[in-house]
């Protein structure tokens, strides 16, 4: 009984002797991956909610509606092919964000204002 755990959320599953994927190319060409962004309600930004596979943009939009907005979670959806996104790399985290790190004077708390000055 030693190789099991409740890992898996919906009930215990085996842990040992279970493959975790080779990252090998799929036998049939896989539909492209789309990232899904949903605007929760008017006045809010679109927020990333997950991803899905679809044959084309239109199908991605329909699937996004079915998978991510079954309970009025959104008033607008964006789908973007994952391979069209340019992202910063975590490796270059420090140099990438360094320019803002040492500019404390960009924050309001940098400035001392006497306590008796109202509304500031």
């Amino acid at each position: 009984m030693s190789n099991l755990s409740a890992e898996g959320g919906h009930g215990a599953v085996p842990l040992e002797g279970v493959p975790t994927g080779q990252g090998v190319p799929a036998p049939e060409p896989e539909w492209p991956l789309y990232e899904v962004f949903v605007r929760g309600k008017r006045g809010l930004n679109h927020v990333h909610v997950g991803s899905l596979h679809a044959a084309d943009d239109r199908m991605a939009l329909l699937h996004a509606r079915d998978v991510y907005t079954r309970r009025n979670e959104g008033v607008s959806i964006w789908v973007v092919r994952a391979d069209a996104i340019t992202a910063s790399s975590p490796d270059e985290k420090d140099p990438m964000f360094a320019p803002s790190g040492d500019k404390v004077y960009r924050h309001p708390t940098f400035y001392d204002i006497p306590d008796n000055v109202p509304h500031m």
């Binding site: 215990a12 998978v67 490796d91």
Partner: protein, 322 residues
């Protein structure tokens, strides 16, 4: 590199450990130890498979729901389980495993799913018992996973947990409705609880003493509670719910322990559990055959959609070059 500087791998590992220690989340493009990545792929993938296979026991009753209201509810519930599977596959893919590979590992039986779904659903009361007990146990497991250390997994769990509450409540409400009915209906409910109580307790996995991997998973912040802790929580939650419902939980050892402040209870039949995990559960072959058939029967749809997309793309390119 100077002598005092750590080797790159050690530095990365130290950064990873520090992130975990701060209770911060690990995100997809971060460096992570290979063991952490593999544990997550296995856990998230098999969690996803469980959601997908989990559609079958209840899906069995959709065409025979006793009313339009119950049918609409059951359809929505089963559709949610498909959604849960998709959120989780999406999270697993951020770890560098492809969707088709995940599907293939389920269909070939190389990866498993929770054995709770290998039990048959013999009456409509089972739809209620599954909602109350099986989804209830899943909630106990999944709520702490909302704080799991891997960002995409935790976010998927937050979406799932919001929906699970509906699953449990619709099941419990179904059972209360039947309990207000005839003697025959009450007997159906009790019979169903008798069958599902022990398998629900098994969902938390073997006792902690027999679960050596838990410690590493907890150290990595993937798992937040041990199997026994979660099982105890589930029992303590279920007892008053069973009382309110007017059913008996089929465990003669179940008794309140004043000293511990928890219920004492008996052990499930772990041999039955092991058989289920090995693929010898009552409906194991049927569940796998059904999933395989659904995948194969869907092949022409996937091909047609791919062909249509290619055609549309070609037409568009023709337009712009003309």
């Amino acid at each position: 590199m100077t002598l005092t500087e750590a080797a790159p791998d050690e530095a990365l590992e130290a950064h990873f450990e520090a992130t975990i220690a701060r209770n911060d989340r690990i995100e997809p493009r971060d460096w992570m130890p290979e063991g952490y990545r593999k544990t997550l792929v296995r856990q998230i993938a098999q969690h996803a498979h469980s959601e997908i296979i989990g559609m079958q026991p209840e899906g069995n009753w959709i065409t025979r729901a006793p009313s339009l209201r119950r049918k609409a509810i059951l359809l929505a519930k089963v559709q949610d389980e498909a959604g849960h599977g998709l959120y989780l596959y999406s999270a697993a893919e951020t770890l560098g495993v492809s969707r088709l590979e995940l599907t293939e590992m389920l269909i070939s039986g190389r990866q498993k799913y929770s054995s709770i779904f290998n039990y048959p659903t013999l009456s409509y009361a089972d739809v209620g018992a599954i909602g109350w007990l099986v989804d209830g146990a899943a909630i106990c497991n999944q709520v702490p996973l909302c704080r799991t250390s891997y960002g995409p997994y935790g976010r998927a769990m937050i979406r799932v947990c919001k929906e699970e509450s509906f699953h449990q409540r619709q099941g419990y409400e179904l059972l209360t409705t039947m309990m207000r009915g005839t003697d025959e209906q009450r007997a159906m409910v009790q019979e169903s609880i008798d069958r599902f109580w022990w398998p629900a307790l098994m969902m938390f996995g073997p006792p902690d003493a027999d679960s050596p991997n838990t410690a590493q998973s907890m150290a990595w912040g993937i798992k937040r509670n041990t199997n026994d802790e979660l099982r105890q929580k589930f029992v303590d939650m279920s007892v008053p719910q069973a009382e309110a419902l007017g059913v008996t939980l089929p465990d003669p050892e179940l008794v309140w322990n004043e000293e511990r402040g928890h219920h004492d209870f008996g052990q499930p039949d772990w041999e039955e559990f092991m058989q289920g995990v090995k693929g010898n559960g009552p409906c194991n072959a049927q569940r796998m055959a059904h999933r395989r058939r659904a995948h194969e029967d869907g092949a022409w749809v996937r091909e047609a959609a791919t062909a249509y997309a290619a055609k549309q793309r070609a037409a568009k390119q023709g337009e712009t070059s003309a």
